[in-house]
Symmetry: C2
Subunit: 226 residues, 2 copies
Amino acid sequence: MISLQNVTKTYQIGPSLIKALDNVNLSIEVGEMVAVMGPSGSGKSTLMNIVGCLDVPTAGTYSLKDRKVEELSENELADIRGTNIGFIFQTYNLLPRLTALANVELPLLYDGSKNTKARALEALEKVGIEDRKNHKPSELSGGQQQRVGIARALVKNPSIILADEPTGNLDSKTGVEIMALLQQLNKNSKITVVVVTHEEEIANYNDRVITFRDGSIVSDKPVSDK
Amino acid sequence: MISLQNVTKTYQIGPSLIKALDNVNLSIEVGEMVAVMGPSGSGKSTLMNIVGCLDVPTAGTYSLKDRKVEELSENELADIRGTNIGFIFQTYNLLPRLTALANVELPLLYDGSKNTKARALEALEKVGIEDRKNHKPSELSGGQQQRVGIARALVKNPSIILADEPTGNLDSKTGVEIMALLQQLNKNSKITVVVVTHEEEIANYNDRVITFRDGSIVSDKPVSDK
Ligand SMILES: Nc1ncnc2c1ncn2[C@@H]1O[C@H](COP(=O)(O)OP(=O)(O)OP(=O)(O)O)[C@@H](O)[C@H]1O
Ligand SMILES: Nc1ncnc2c1ncn2[C@@H]1O[C@H](COP(=O)(O)OP(=O)(O)OP(=O)(O)O)[C@@H](O)[C@H]1O
Ligand SMILES: [Mg+2]
Ligand SMILES: [Mg+2]
């Protein structure tokens, strides 16, 4: 359902050509739970942005549910980003003037949903920060901001969750709770989950681990000890 | 040299009173290397902001080198923040319109130092990202931005380094390199280092581990297996 064929992403900075992704071939099926690992700067966030339709390849093709993303209309793209994909950003990207609750409620308001406050509150409860619902991001700890980002990504029950280092600022216990939540969504609701992580024990909550180095995939293995 | 006596920090949000720090007593001597751990929201960043003179207690006293910080003049405070303390922020706080090199050079320009470009470049080399010196923050990976923040904190050779989760977005190998660098500065140059971390193996690079829960210190122990 997620298919990258010979995907390359390059940037030009002054005289240097940077290859953030270098000829990447990758397939992820519906209902899989996959970890993406690799050194800092190896292309993981770039991959996630392309998979999440937030960025486009310089070369190669990205297909989602058998449709080439470059051939989709702007409306179809907005629909995918808004409804089907829940994105947890590495740097949270919360709106600074809105409270935690309002940040999580916003995606629901955009498509005229009912019951928006109750659903946003339920998402905050799932990540354990409902008691901070009236705080703005600057009034929250780093890990609390991270969890608002997670709640926001989950609130529309997306069919794909892309989590870019969702536990980086969380203590082990809270990190385990988040991974258990993602695992539950994957197993019970068949949601496809991709998690970028630097930690082996977080990677082991997944079925498969893909490892990047310098923009290329260097290994792609099932997680054995289950 | 760092001494908190009965320090409390509270916030009022609507009807709730939040106790971010609750009667904290803590002493850190010159040349110590200390880890601070605890669940998300337990007060670690609040502690660091007070120790770094970026915030003030609601109650209690914070003394730095035997001088009560509340009695220092604005000039003396600016001097401490600018020269003596290198702060590595949990959310990097880089200037978005400046390159990595310019972000690291900025503290040196403020006090009329010589050789600013060379010194900034050397700091970037120490954290392994000199090849990204001309990138702006939005053109860097999460871990690369984190390392620019680390280089900036070290460039003025401060006597105290406060690192709030310096390896949160780094793969283990790069994280180990950063901790080895901090350890080297501590052992060779007698720099006092305080590291907030969620990871046990990072904490073990330190001499002592202080653990917070709900704004209070619940344990304070030496690191035994060295
Ligand atoms: N400006 C503020 N207004 C209200 N509450 C605040 C403010 N800043 C922090 N808090 C609250 O104080 C508590 C401690 O925050 P702090 O940032 O010190 O936690 P932390 O231990 O660093 O957490 P993390 O590991 O998630 O970074 C949190 O519960 C947070 O919600
Ligand atoms: N807009 C840009 N312009 C130039 N180079 C970029 C840009 N965005 C990313 N890069 C470069 O592309 C490479 C891959 O970046 P990416 O953010 O995908 O890494 P990452 O694997 O997510 O790293 P981390 O673990 O540190 O978050 C990095 O070396 C980075 O410097
Ligand atoms: Mg990244
Ligand atoms: Mg913090």
